[in-house]
Amino acid sequence: MELKSKIPSGPLEQKWDSHRFNMKLVNPANKRKYHVIVVGAGLAGASSAATMSELGYKVSCFVYHDSPRRAHSIAAQGGINAAKNYQNDGDSIKRLFYDTIKGGDFRAREANVYRLAQCSVNIIDQCVAQGVPFAREYGGLLTNRSFGGAQVSRTFYARGQTGQQLLLGAYQALEKQIGKGAVTMHTLTEMVDVVLVDGVARGIVARDLRTGKISTHLADAVVLATGGYGNVFFLSTNAKQSNVTATWRAYKRGAAFANPCFTQIHPTCIPQAGDHQSKLTLMSESLRNDGRCWAPLKKGDTRNPRDIPEAERDYFLERKYPSFGNLAPRDIASRAAKEVCDEGRGVGETGLGVYLDFADSIKRLGDTAISERYGNLFEMYERITDEDPYKQPMRIYPAVHYTMGGTWVDYNLMSTIPGLHVLGEANFSDHGANRLGASALMQGLADGYFVIPVTIGDYLAQAKLAPMTLDHPEVRAAESAANDRMKRLINIKGKRSADSFHRDLGKIMWDKCGMARNTESLTTAIQDIGGLKEEFWKNVSVPGSDADLNQALEKANRVADFMELGELMCRDALEREESCGGHFRTEYQTPDGEALRNDDTFAHVAAWQYNGENASPSRLVEPLTFESVQLSQRSYK
């Protein structure tokens, strides 16, 4: 199979415009004849479902939550980037584009990223029109904050709940369409397979989580907006139910999966407290605007942080990256924190932590100003750790937060399966090997509000789709395979909970395919996962019935997919013999410990094609060509 990126020709600045002109349109009266299924209702899912329905398409939307408002986009804290240049500080579409390409360590497609930067401007307008209460100045204008990896202030925010407010905007637009009968909403319904007929996506198989009933839903096109796969590590900042099942089943039906090893480890999370822990909590990157990261200079220094004098502190980000300081990008800041802890200078009981200190800012601005900016985050921190960040520095440690890899898509956001489109974090397209802060919300909404509503028309106008019925043999086969899988899981009747397997998988992934990887760790990880997988299918315990609301079954079904994905991530990390962004191979580093890219051999996207249960997947390559930026060693010094 060949990966056809379908990047339009012409100058970078005009590609999206000329593409929009060249695309085929569907006549307004014909749009209602086309049925589009959207899976997921986070920023990308809800915005695309609402917008396509506004255009006149018949839309059905599926979520495993009890309401589309609960999708994990809701938890994003810090903000959303846009090249508005409201601060007059030299920002532009080109600068946002450049920062994103560089931040991604030159492993993203120029054309996609440029389009993203162009759309960013419209997103803010759209959201304000919907009533998103972004932070404002007294004069009534919108205000901005700065975020990692940028030297301009282009991040729009709504306190520490930006994701919530953006999602509610999209959710309300979606609910309006549901109320009008223009979107059919299926809540508590989880996609378990994609239906292909003659190689084209024609619907999904879904399980009603209330009753366990599995049924097939047919459509003219399918859109997956099902989020990232960070929970493969068990402990991550993702919501507990976030999973890879939708895109993984698509992979097994032929949708190539790109750059699975590109995982973002976020530097500022609350450190793990013990083995009982079920998830990790992010402390927004915006805190690094006013907080200073430091660790004691001496190893094993257990003094109260307030008793450690200035001269015995190491403000390691300011020391190593003077021009970006505490606002170094996430991958860089995470590695720096890990390095400090590896040297034995970590803090807290486990030694896996560094300080994020607000004392200087509080002295400069006062408690009130700090509380206005970060009050809810400070409160959240205190509730979890029982420590008051106004009085003592926060303890933070990196944690898995976002996955840049995902289903491979072309410029139109279509996967290698015709008719199957993938948006938001679920696709691989815009962030390369590392995502900059406040860019995930931007991508989800750009894909959903502005890209897919246009490109789906181009697909539908040209696809010659035969009418489809539920008794087509390929449709029935997909549905019965889904039923068989649920029965198989129930009938194992082993001794271990799905969560216990998930924890073991997470530990393997974190230790061997986490912040630092090498040939040896990755090779053993693949073996370990193989063993775990074998045990899972013999010894997992899934009590209850498949014809019922059964959370143990939901979990087991997702964990089984995570194990297979984990193996592919390790394989991808092993084959990529370079370090870039969040992918750090210890064999490939500069003398001062920075990521050492190999542009001659690896300036490409690696997309994996499934070849069946007992065969190795093929590694397909999409070369990345850079016409507008110069590849350089990324420097934030």
Partner: protein
Amino acid sequence: MNFTLKVWRQANTASAGRLETYAAKGIPSDASFLEMIDIVNMHLEEEGKEPIAFAHDCREGICGSCSMMIDGVAHGPVKGAATCQVHMRTFTDGQEITIEPWRSVAFPVLKDLITDRSAFDRIIQAGGYISAPTGGARDANEILIGKLESDSAMDAAACIGCGACVAACPNGSASLFTGAKISHLGRLPQGQPERYRRVEAMVAQMDEEHFGHCTLYGECQEACPKQISIDVISQMNRDFIVASATKRPEMTSAGAG
């Protein structure tokens, strides 16, 4: 720490439920309330018994999934926190804890501690939005909104839709939830054109869903994990009265041609 749990178990909406007793042993004091249930569930699963079904997702107090009455209090003993933000150090070792689902006619139990809160979505469908189809928006800075106005809209917009307000209300009223959305949108200039249609439609839907009436007990704001003030209910009531008093028939033939 060790606890004795009395947990509501109910197979589905149609069947009767009962309280079952479980021992939660060796629970770390740093564990969250949901992590405590995770531990109990893990043991149940290992014994081949059905785990306690409960709604949860983000576990950082923003998705609004988790929803438990803990000793009769919505979201438990910590003020301004959702169930997932309550930690076991808040309880005393050896304590007996009773855990039940939200209790409201409008939120039928689906299983154990999970209730059906889709009535909230239908209230939003009725009018909890600003009509702004994608594409037609003007530049964001052309709409000036004073900081105080914007902040007060944000205070109301912070609602996570968990339903604690309904569960805590002796009348089972959804006024805090509905009032919060009406206030969020009604306090912004963008929300003005639909302001009075919105309040009428949302209040009507609230009644249709069998939520009770508000008699200003104020239990809702005590239980609200985002501490939304009952001021939003006053705003809803005021807007509703204005809407009823100024209502005019809508033109049906406008714009033809």
